[in-house]
Amino acid sequence: MISKKIELLVGLFVALGIAALMFLALSVASSGMSGSGETYNLYAKFDNIGGLKVRSSIKVGGVVVGRVEEIKLDTEDYAPVAKLAIDTKYNNFPDTSSLSILTSGLLGEQYLGLEPGFIDETVGILGEGDFIEDTKSALVLEELIGQFLFSQGSE
């Protein structure tokens, strides 16, 4: 028969395991968007998506509201289309909102910055399957340098 002490220590061991899991899940992983919540989809067409990837985050004022779910190329005008999954908690962005591809830090990942637009009677609310019209493409460093040199030369 096993002693009380062993049972106690095993209980403690299991409790430690659960504590470790909680610690990892709550304070190490991103607690905001785990990707498991309810989402709705929006679409956005860009000229150039740069380094944007599937699962890149979508932020409003720095707060994560969703993730890029899929990136594909429109077969008619060969422009990249991103499918976005936005948390249903944030379901009243007006259709005047704009989307731009930004970089976190100099070497950081690229993410989508969503800028909510103005609201009046003529403006609708973005719902499932809508396109965000106002998009700004990624800044490509080579193009930027090219433009800079070109403008220098023309002066």
Binding site: M1, I2, I6, E7, L9, V10, L12, F13, V14, L16, G17, A20, L21, F23, L24, A25, S27, V28, A29, S30, S31, S34, G35, S36, S57, V64, G105, L107
Partner: protein
């Protein structure tokens, strides 16, 4: 022609060992579990296998976390990216070092002990004697040890990662002066529960099954002499370490590859 014959002989031996190991595992885990009698045995083995391995896991985890932070800092600081230290330490621990190092330490600490214990039980006729008492040694001896190993290792791996993170925090934030806020927030922004933590746990469950299986099979299949048992113990450590490293590559490719 000798080497071809040897190759054939070795191949046949390998496969027959895999076959015997599968039969053993099958006999041990397919059997209808008896919770009233089985649970105390399981608890006892969780103590022997899991609780007694805690110290080595916690100490190693702490030091590995500290070393990771120190090494990572010296590289990252050159790019001015030392704020990402938390991300680096946490991802290395959760995805790789936690499951892998825990499995290697587990093979050395608990696996070898399991092999030696079962091998000795075989050598001293305890297993035969169980059989003659109409008690199936697969269920009485093998099954609780197997389940205890499979249960304990993921817990140990999570503790390893957690303690490693604290060690990383200790060195990175307390000693090297990385900003505490960015240490945690960049970590939280990049670590995902499903992608990183859950995959790490899945890895360690796979390692747990493989290491425990090898350990108990090597003991059960040991030649019942002192030399046979010492060989079996060595084989446990070597084979389970190689299996863990090989499987780690496969699992990593499957989980993070695409």
């Amino acid at each position: 022609m000798d080497w071809i014959q040897n190759l054939g002989k070795n191949t046949i031996e390998r496969f027959s060992a895999i076959g015997r190991a599968s039969f053993m595992l099958f006999g041990a885990i397919v059997a209808k579990p008896n919770f009233v009698k089985g649970f105390p045995l399981f608890t006892k083995q969780v103590y022997v296998i899991g609780v007694l391995s805690l110290v080595i896991i916690l100490v190693s985890g702490l030091f590995i976390g500290m070393v990771l932070a120190l090494q990572g800092y010296t590289v990252l600081v050159d790019y001015g990216a030392e704020d990402s230290l938390g991300q680096m330490v946490s991802l290395s621990l959760l995805r790789e070092l936690g499951p892998v190092v825990t499995a290697l330490l587990f093979a050395g600490r608990a696996g070898s002990a399991l092999t030696a214990e079962i091998g000795l039980m075989k050598a001293t006729e305890q297993l035969t004697s169980l059989e003659m008492m109409a008690v199936d040694p697969l269920r009485r001896v093998i099954a609780p040890r197997f389940w205890a190993g499979v249960f304990s290792m993921p817990i140990l791996a999570m503790l390893f990662s957690s303690v490693g993170l604290l060690g990383g925090h200790l060195v990175g934030v307390e000693w090297l002066g990385v900003d505490q806020g960015s240490f945690w927030s960049i970590m939280q922004a990049s670590v995902e529960f499903e992608g990183d933590i859950l995959n790490g746990i899945i890895k360690s469950i796979v390692f747990a099954i493989v290491v425990t299986w090898i350990a108990i099979f090597r003991g059960y299949d040991a030649i019942p002499t002192s030399e046979g048992i010492s060989q079996a113990t060595t084989q446990t450590v070597v084979q389970s370490s190689l299996a863990v490293l090989g499987l780690d590559f496969v699992l990593t490719a499957l989980m993070f590859g695409s």
